[in-house]
Symmetry: C3
Subunit: 359 residues, 3 copies
């Protein structure tokens, strides 16, 4: 294969008033070997090459236009890749179980937004992360990604909007409030208004407020999403609070979460917690976390996870990493790691090692 | 449609003979709040955050290579995005009802072509707009997009090729004919030739000829596409003529369309019409149109739409917009707006307001 | 395959220390008119506008980061386009028949990898070509693409991994071994380890070793992939050897392949061969090949193909091409060209002419 490379730069933007304009093409390709094993009757282990052990593989396009007078417009389109096999992650069109996108092709599941921003903050429309998700990832040393990701996120009863919502209108506080930050979001389930009990399914609101200054970061988020009450679902209220403090030798993190599902005849409440730390080690970083999630459903199922990992940065874009995790179950839970199957109330262990490259 | 595209120019072209070459990455992210309501028994309203109220959201890649001697080669790949939830619009592989693409992933449904051009015109191969579509959008103040889009397009009996065709060979007249322009297209249904009545389904030809000079633009298009005759379909012939005149204070537009479907035992003919105008208002533009479509099917169903909109340009790339529309039905029609459901012969109203950002 | 690729310089990549970084956006749009005809009872012909008669249409993103000390990291994401209708080619997630990706949307089916390279070679993770494929394409004047592509590839019993494998770990020898080159690959089927006969399905290993120096190029590849034995499949072992010699007036090529499937109650072995040549003709190139494939299944089916083509380069990026091919069948085979259907033991002919444009 003979290849000739053509270097392109953005020289001019025909017909655009603002002198400067840019589109950024960005992404991550993260592939790892992952192994999981279970225990007990019916358990099985699994070995795989998988995607996103450290950072989720992705491809995105984004840009900002300066509108003058302190205003700007921007867009952000980002797709999650399963880089081990070339397929893509699914999105959800209506924040309901029946809205999962069909097929393995590229969707901008991670984010698909247009924004207007000024000194008063940012207005953002489209598919975006929900306020109730951010604390789950910001205050998890593993960022909810890979085998070590917080059990409070893995087992969450938060439903289809626990990470992202489609059809959302978001407002973000401006960045100059002395460390205070915040986000409000309203999202629509988009069912026809026809008197059905389910007509508001998938519609909800959420807010997150926080304070970050120097070594400290703390934030509270709460959300309420409507679903008609059945034996397995109902209105979901998720609330969480997290914080981190950077001691220099380590950044300590803690998180508490609560999800309440108004199912019938009885509500179900889930409670999660995490404590962890990021410890710099020269060009690398040790990651450690203990996380739990339990619900008051029949048997009071509970899962606890220990996770320990190391990331070795070859550059700011490229890293080698490895993670080991163990989850223990009780009360009827059977959480397993890396695709393994484990018996009820039995342990599962998993590990991975891989390469992350961003661009 | 105003668009500003980000032009990427080549700085160095190692190993490529031609001195000049470029690839353009372009797109639109347009998200709006849209509401529709119906009336009568069984009607329902709908509120949604949706995509493409002013310009269809899209992501595209295109480029042109100068081959010397007045010749050039080019490509154009363009995907339609549902930016409210990150999914993509479907394409159609064979210009037949059974050729709809599967899944929600990215397809280059809007255009997927390779071209050779010279002073004699352009030869274009692939998936492209059909000649019978162009007048529908060029002479509609709403460009067939959003809640205000022409009823002559919305209700059209033009079938799977009323907007685009796959497997097409197109020829475009060169641009130096003193204002005269034209396009011929032949597209293939690609069924095996085996004696079946349906073997030519999806195969057709179309032509469009026009004249644009100063304030005037007028064009005629006609097409014929083969489908085996059944109770609901048959050979489709679509013909339309449109024109616009720019008076300065306003650009007036008019369109007349006719679709004939050779179904059995009786043919069905649909007739559409539109009058409208674009009125500049400082940095903005008022859009207004009245459009109709009726057929001679049982009951002679007819739908009439009034639409009024305003676009406020924050820059050449970014705009705020709002549109209000009302459709009235008779003869058994039940057209509704923005996802609402309306009773037979009842009204539906809809509006939207949103942000369009192009790159 | 000559390609000219377009590199986009990233103007700003927040958080990246390295002063230099680049992402390459590249692709091919190749569309052609293709006709195939069969013969005998039940035969049918087909006319189509199709994609990839000379080079497979594609869109890709790739880049390399210099890590210093002779090391580098890189990524490669490449999707196969059906440019005649805007859909995309499917991938396979687990190297098994049930792993075909769902839908028509973009997947990085052609390649999805992250790599680390140094003077010791390259480690590559993800979805990639298999070692057993390369000789099939390198030593075929038609590169396994279009109506003239080698029958040894078209009829191959090599199974889901005959071209690419997902979940692969690959190692490539460095480029400074005096002409010797080589690749080792291990790929995983990723089934749970649960005692089922099929638990290793889709897992395999392959190796390719070759020598290229001046006019000569020769390589051997062999692979073994596990599938539980049934009447139609079982462990697949594919081995091939190919070579080419450039005499200046023509580059001659030859290839021999063998696939053994351990099905029950009897194994099936397939054997393929090809001889061909590429003949430069000014700005163009004549391509000619004779290829065969036969198996020892009931009746000993055999197919033989003659193919003759011409490529006229308008530039290094753009070409016009045409190909004519005829396949003859015996022993119960009924291979047909360009979508035609032919009777058992009957002939099929096909031709195409098209435009290829790369960027």
């Amino acid at each position: 294969m003979k290849k000739s490379l053509v270097a392109l730069a953005i020289l001019a933007t025909a017909g655009v008033a603002s002198a400067q304009s840019s589109v950024t093409l960005f992404g991550v390709v993260d592939v790892n070997y992952a192994h999981g094993s279970g225990s007990g009757v019916g358990s099985s282990s699994k070995s795989q090459l998988t995607s996103g052990g450290y950072n989720t593989s992705r491809l995105g396009f984004r840009g900002t236009e300066d509108l003058g007078g302190g205003m700007s417009a921007s867009f952000w389109l980002e797709a999650g890749i399963n880089a081990d096999n070339g397929t893509f992650q699914a999105t959800n069109t209506n924040n309901q179980a029946n809205g999962a996108s069909v097929g393995s092709g590229l969707t901008f599941n991670r984010r698909s937004t247009v924004s207007l921003a000024s000194g008063l903050g940012e207005l953002r429309l489209g598919r975006d992360y929900t306020p109730q998700f951010w604390n789950q990832t910001v205050f998890d040393p593993f960022g909810t990604v890979g085998v070590g990701g917080s059990q409070a996120n893995v087992s969450s009863l938060g439903g289809p909007v626990s990470v992202r919502a489609s059809n959302s209108v978001g407002y973000f506080l401006p960045g100059n409030l002395g460390g205070f930050y915040g986000q409000f979001q309203h999202y629509l389930g988009e069912n026809n208004k026809n008197g059905a009990a389910t007509e508001k399914d998938g519609t909800g609101s959420a807010i997150r407020l926080g304070y970050a200054n120097g070594p400290i970061n703390v934030a509270l988020a709460t959300s309420s999403t409507k679903y008609a009450a059945t034996a397995t679902t109902g209105k979901i209220q998720s609330t969480n609070i997290g914080g981190s403090y950077d001691f220099g030798v380590a950044q300590a993190m803690a998180l508490v979460t609560r999800d309440k599902v108004d199912s019938v005849p009885t509500n179900v409440t889930g409670k999660g917690a995490l404590v962890g730390a990021l410890v710099p080690m020269g060009a690398g970083q040790i990651r450690v976390a203990y996380s739990t999630y339990k619900t008051d459903a029949a048997g009071t199922p509970k899962s606890k996870k220990w996770a320990l990992g190391y990331v070795h940065n070859l550059s700011k874009r490229t890293a080698l990493y490895t993670t080991f995790a163990r989850v223990t179950n009780s009360g009827g839970a059977s959480q397993a790691l890396n695709g393994a199957v484990t018996a009820v109330n039995a342990r599962s262990t998993g590990y991975d090692f891989g390469i992350k490259h961003s661009f």
